[in-house]
């Protein structure tokens, strides 16, 4: 049996094992890779960075734990950036298991922002992030399309109270904040079809600036909305998160993870090449043998 025949019959579990070994090696070897920031990510960072203090950013955390690998780093980077710029944030979680994701991110970032830090050469004093003053978490409601439409009229229709049960009218930050007209932009971090609803029923109906943070699987199919101007920026997968972290000078899990992506991708490309060579050589031999 030739090496190509062996390759064609190779148990896929050996491929998994090899890839796992490469990822673990890449994780523990200390090195860094350059992160090139694309214009579609830069436009989101620039937009948030240019907002005056006190403006409201709406962050829709529409993903479940299954997507946290790619989208949680985006949430952390954007939230930290917004809070350091003294912006106010409204959160929703229109995905079934999203409230847990949002709750965890809010707790972690609240701790992080309480520390003194320097980003891009600018020193930021730590400050206390307070619920109802600096942010409001509206929580989850089912049937996202209807919720997105109703929030265009008034946040209070679908969310009479926030996630913690406080009436919206009792929340200082929400006084005078009725609907999307009162937010500077909306950033949807999504791992599913909710993004389509934000584009059609949200941005398309109420015409607010919309940016997307998407899982890698979804990213390619949403680029047409960038070109049409329906969204002003896209962050795609862990790479998009790493780009935002790089721009915000706030290295986190995404930049750390991109180190492992490099050897993993090299191995996958090599496997694809070897697999194709094996396939064509075997097929050629079978043709010559008249099979």
């Amino acid at each position: 049996m030739s090496i190509f025949d062996r390759l064609m019959r190779l148990d896929r579990r050996w491929v998994f094992l090899f890839l796992t070994a490469v990822c673990i090696a890449g994780y523990y070897v200390d090195y860094s890779i350059p992160i090139r920031v694309t214009n579609e990510t830069r436009s989101i960072y620039t937009f948030i960075d240019s907002l005056p203090p006190g403006d409201i950013v709406f962050v829709a955390i529409d993903y479940d734990p299954s997507n946290q690998a790619e989208l949680h780093p985006m949430t952390y980077a954007i939230m930290e950036h917004a809070f350091r710029k003294n912006l106010k944030v409204i959160f929703t979680a229109l995905s079934q298991n999203g409230p847990g994701m949002a709750d965890q991110a809010i707790r972690d970032i609240t701790d992080s922002v309480s520390l003194d830090r320097t980003y891009n050469g600018v020193e930021f004093k730590g400050r206390e992030i307070r619920n109802g003053i600096d942010y409001t978490f509206l929580g989850y409601k089912p049937y996202y399309a209807i919720i997105i439409l109703s929030m265009g009229q008034n946040f209070r229709i679908s969310f009479p109270t926030d996630y913690y049960g406080t009436p919206l009218d009792s929340i200082p930050m929400m006084r005078g904040v009725l609907n999307y007209d009162n937010v500077a932009c909306l950033i949807d971090l999504s791992g599913g079809n909710i993004t389509d609803a934000w584009i059609s029923y949200g941005q398309g109906r109420y015409n607010f600036p919309l940016a997307l943070g998407l899982t890698g699987v979804m990213t390619a199919q949403y680029y047409p909305y960038l070109n049409s101007g329906q969204v002003f920026g896209i962050m795609g997968g862990m790479l998009g998160a790493a780009q935002y972290e790089r721009m915000a000078d706030n290295p986190g899990l995404a930049i750390d993870g991109m180190r492992v992506q490099l050897p993993a991708h090299i191995v996958i490309v090599l496997f694809i090449i070897i697999g194709n060579i094996g396939y064509f050589v075997t097929r050629r031999r079978e043709q010559l043998e008249g099979r």
């Binding site: 079934q96 009479p160 890698g216 862990m238």
Partner: protein
């Protein structure tokens, strides 16, 4: 981190490893993790809908009314209507009265279709058509940096790609000559699109594994041996090593089962 939190973290680590064990083969640990995900998700959903939606959006709206008057004396009695429609949905489980559930369903579908059709048409079709036919920005043809999606070149490529891909799917004329050449360009455009999607998908799948690696290392292993933790005790590394021992025992058990099976199948009949 206190010891209770560490136990929860350990459970997360164990379930992570149990899930990955499926890459070798289906096994009881994987089944346990799979069933837990389904069960916990369903339970979480019911509770969050009850407390997050039913209570504030229905019960609290009718709270100032009296039940024996069917809440008609509340300040917002119209909230009874969606409440009743919701209850009618449950008749679906009855063979005799299942037809009643069609009424709320019909209302819901009618509203959803009425809202969706114009907005979907406008945002998914019309705006995309307009975006394909924009003026090419010759003053910013190359854009900023490598392949700027906001550049004139991107607009030109999108126009060529969209037209050629549409021609590929036009089957009323044979794909020969110039028409065939453009159709071939169309399939190349599609292939490049699929390639980009595949590349992103590979990155996404590897990202999931990296995230679990980070969890196992930073959240679990480092916490198990973090002597600077004020709540640290011998229980932390003990739990860590117990889980590792369990994994090792399972690997040895699987290996022995594999060797036994191999010997049985290779033995002379």
């Amino acid at each position: 981190m206190d010891f209770t939190t560490f136990l929860w973290t350990t459970l997360g680590a164990f379930l992570t490893l149990a899930t990955f064990s499926f890459l070798y083969k289906d096994n009881p640990f994987y089944k346990l993790a799979e069933h837990l995900v389904v069960g916990v998700s369903a339970g979480y959903f019911v509770i969050i809908v009850w407390h997050g939606t039913m209570v504030p959006n229905l019960f609290q709206k009718l709270a100032d009314g009296d039940w024996y008057l069917l809440w008609l004396n509340s300040t917002q009695p119209w909230y009874i209507v969606p409440g009743i429609l919701g209850i009618l949905m449950w008749t679906r489980f009855s063979k005799k009265y299942g037809w009643i559930s069609r009424w709320p369903m019909a209302l819901y579908i009618g509203i959803a279709a009425g809202v969706a059709v114009p907005l979907e048409m406008s945002n998914k079709v019309n705006k995309q058509l307009v975006a394909t036919m924009v003026d090419i920005d010759w003053s910013n043809f190359m854009g900023a940096g490598f392949f700027d999606p906001f550049s004139g070149m991107a607009s030109l490529l999108i126009f060529i790609g969209a037209v050629s891909a549409l021609i590929y799917f036009f089957f009323s004329k044979a794909h020969t000559g110039v028409f065939g050449g453009v159709a071939k360009l169309g399939i190349w455009t599609l292939m490049i699109g699929f390639g980009a999607s595949f590349g992103f998908t590979v990155m996404a799948r590897i990202s999931l594994f990296i995230n679990r690696l980070q969890y196992l290392d930073k959240n679990w292993r480092e916490a198990a041996f973090d002597a600077s933790n004020p709540n640290y005790s011998f229980g932390f590394p003990l739990v860590f090593w117990l889980v590792m021992a369990l994994i090792l025992v399972y690997i040895i058990w699987e290996l022995m089962a594999h060797l036994k099976h191999k010997n049985q199948t290779s033995a002379p009949q």
